[in-house]
């Protein structure tokens, strides 16, 4: 057995502000009850904003869009709505009151997709956090539960359910600039092993060539992979698999069907063979790095959080990076975290409660170097 390469870095945390790279903290500059004006300019303008290049280094994170969605409870503790916070790093934060059935996705470049349903219609908007405006993408009588933008920045994929019966209506696509939608994936059939569908999440493979549609019962999940270019669909339906972490090459990376942590993370190849790539993981993300896709996951022991980096194919030794501690957690994707902030490739975001907020830290996956970005949000 090959000796496991262990990289244990006591990461030097470097404050960007100390490097003179960040200015203008946004805390306190909050615009409450914001209603975005129409951006104008049609889908082409939105697509340009959506294709804004990702930051290449932590010092380029200034100006990046972010969002966060939090439930608002009434006096009885029942969900009464959701509060959307959307902003650009280093500038004002805007807040919107949304109905209970709402979601956010992204950011895609400078765009955050925001869906909201008032009980009669679903509205999907592409919000430009930088310009402070929104472009209408869709208005539907059925309920748009989730949506993502494709890597080309031109097409939106939506998952819908029937308003009355809540039956699965499948996945639809339409131009980002609006227009008629076409169904590209049929509704998922019933399967007693999974029970009723609690959640459907849409995401893209690391390579950007396949749309992953992960549909979960209370605990176990089914994943369908759609190749938009060919229409080909691959499905994995095994009740021992839980929430999707990500897809890369022939690998589908999921949690086991745990409903808690620590939980094993599993990698299933095209032949359906599964291996445990992380036996006791906390929050995890599948990320693109210079060395190829890597699974970054927490190992939580008491108050101590460590980040481990794993090859999703299991072909290379895992790397352990000492976590920065101080209550920071790895931020998951926007579906699990109901929040999003684009970070440079090869860096992972750690934040309080695993969501963008004050005292966030970027950790370089390659060597564990940590950079503090206290001004990033709120």
């Amino acid at each position: 057995m090959e000796k496991r390469w262990l990289l244990r870095v006591g990461p030097p945390i470097v404050a960007l502000s100390a490097l003179g790279l960040v200015a203008g903290a946004s805390a306190g500059a909050v615009e409450e009850r914001w209603e975005p004006p129409d951006c104008g300019g049609g889908g082409n303008r939105t697509a340009v904003v959506a294709l804004r290049p990702a930051p290449r280094a932590p010092n380029e994170i200034r100006g990046e869009s972010w969002f966060r969605l939090d439930p608002v409870l009434d006096a009885t503790g029942t969900l009464a709505g959701q509060r959307l916070e959307i902003g650009v790093h280093g500038r004002a934060v805007r807040r919107m009151a949304l109905p209970p059935e709402s979601f956010g996705a992204g950011p895609y470049g400078g765009i955050v997709l925001v869906g909201s349903d008032d009980g009669r219609r679903s509205v999907l908007r592409a919000m430009d956090a930088s310009a402070g405006c929104a472009a209408l993408v869709a208005r539907e009588r059925s309920v748009i539960r989730r949506a993502v933008l494709d890597p080309a920045g031109t097409t939106v994929y939506e998952f819908r359910v029937d308003r009355a019966s809540r039956a699965d209506l499948g996945v639809w696509r339409r131009p980002l600039g609006g227009g008629p939608a076409k169904r590209v994936l049929a509704p998922l059939g019933d399967d007693d092993r999974f029970g009723r569908t609690f959640s459907t999440e849409l995401s893209w493979s690391v390579e950007g060539d396949r749309l992953a549609v992960a549909q979960c019962g209370q605990t176990a999940c089914r994943v369908r992979l759609l190749e938009p270019a060919t229409g080909r669909v691959r499905m994995i339906a095994r009740p021992d698999l839980g929430e999707l972490v990500g897809v890369t090459a022939d690998r589908v990376v999921t949690y086991a069907a745990c409903r808690g942590i620590p939980c094993p993370i599993l990698s299933t190849d095209a032949d359906g063979l599964t291996e445990v790539v992380a036996p006791t993981a906390g929050i995890a993300r599948l990320m693109r790095t210079d060395d190829g896709p890597r699974l970054v996951h927490e190992v939580v022991t008491g108050e101590r959080v460590e980040l481990h980096v794993v090859d999703p194919a299991g072909d290379r030794p895992p790397v352990e990076i000492a976590g920065p501690g101080d209550g920071l957690r790895l931020a998951p994707d926007s579906a699990r975290g109901a929040a999003g902030l684009r970070v440079p490739e090869g860096w992972a975001l750690l934040a309080p409660d695993a969501r963008p907020g004050a005292s966030a830290v970027l950790v370089r996956i390659a060597d564990g170097t940590a950079v503090s970005i206290p001004e990033v949000t709120r």
């Binding site: 609690f198 009740p239 929430e243 942590i261 291996e275």
Partner: protein, 345 residues
């Protein structure tokens, strides 16, 4: 070379530390990770700013009490305490994945745990979450007390029970992949099921050695019987029996446990005759030991002890080996032809 862990069975895929394959209706699978100490008190509080509403707090505390009362083992106990190290939250920053009703973290084991509950009114694909306790118990609601019991079971170490395909054994476990809604059977179960208890017993051991083993277990037992090799005519044979669980690694903490307070029958057979009951052995002082005195013996006979499989617990029966006790006509003092004392199993 990196060790590859190709897997074929559900047990291994789940990363479970099972010694035996998981099949339908087995004891619950369990998570890898540390156990809490036996009977450890796990004190929990409501997370600041994210405390459940009063009705949910009541339900969760009832779920904790249900767990404590029905663990039938030395598993940890859960105690509400405003200064507790563990916390439970509701609605905000729920750490569950995208789909759960409630979830847990035992990353803090063996010191602490966390637990989270979705807010009443949460929107899922299928519709709106109604906790029974917050919505007046309409059909279609989920009972938070039952959900809490499930989560406390997870915290202990339990993974979801593997049901038969037709789920005919659903009521054998509360810790289930799919929690049922009112009015489906089991939606309001307030006690661990026997297959939950089976794993708790294996992991944490029995409260006492006289406690009943879960009927979801099927443990081999070993019964031994000892007696003197001979007694004089008219004398008394003093029998001692010892009953214990077989010492097998897959029985974990239950292996080699003495088994007290059970019914053990002493049987006798004369040459050419049939086995007939003589009496019940009485519990002796030490755990798992039993005794019987057979007075006025006039003839050599074979003896054995029988532990019949109990109807209401998960122990297999066992019969000791046969031993012969000679009845000899001798005067005072030992007989010169007396055999050595006998032990049989």
């Amino acid at each position: 070379m990196i060790r590859r862990r190709r897997v074929a069975t559900i047990a291994v895929v789940l990363g479970l530390g099972l010694a035996v394959p998981v099949a339908g209706h087995s004891p619950d699978p369990f998570f890898n990770g540390p156990l809490y100490a036996q009977n450890q008190e796990l004190r929990f509080r409501w997370k600041a700013g994210e405390a459940p509403p009063a009705a949910m707090q009541t339900a969760i505390k009832l779920g904790a009490a249900d767990a404590n009362a029905t663990r039938n083992s030395r598993a940890a106990v859960f105690i509400p305490d405003a200064n507790g190290l563990s916390w439970i939250n509701y609605g905000l920053n729920v750490a569950c994945g995208v789909n759960g009703l409630a979830c847990f973290s035992r990353a803090g084991a063996p010191k602490s745990f966390t637990m989270s509950f979705r807010e009443n009114g949460h929107r899922y694909d299928w519709g709106v979450l109604h906790w029974c306790e917050m919505s007046g118990y309409p059909n279609g609601c989920f009972e938070a007390r039952n959900s809490a019991l499930d989560e406390f079971g997870h915290v202990e170490i339990l993974h979801h029970h593997v049901n038969f395909a037709d789920e005919s054994d659903f009521l054998d476990a509360v810790v289930q992949t799919i929690q049922r809604v009112k009015p489906e059977p089991g939606y309001n179960a307030h006690a661990f099921g026997r297959c939950d208890v089976a794993t708790l017993q294996r992991k944490y051991d029995m409260p006492t050695m006289a406690w009943k083993y879960s009927t979801c277990l099927d443990l081999s037992t070993e019964l031994t019987l000892t007696a003197p090799a001979w007694v004089p005519t008219g004398g008394t044979i003093t029998f001692s029996a010892n009953l214990k669980v077989a010492d097998l690694p897959e029985y974990e903490r239950l292996g080699a446990n003495p088994v007290s307070g059970r019914a053990i029958t002493l049987q006798r057979r004369f040459a050419g005759g049939a086995w007939l009951p003589v009496g019940q052995l009485s519990p002796a002082t030490a755990d798992g030991t039993y005794a019987y005195s057979a007075t006025g013996q006039t003839a050599t006979a074979e003896w054995r002890a029988v532990f019949a499989k109990p109807a209401a617990e998960g122990l297999r029966g066992d019969t000791s080996a046969v031993l012969t006790v000679a009845v000899l006509s001798c005067g005072p003092g030992p007989c010169p032809q007396a055999p050595n004392p006998t032990t049989a199993r």
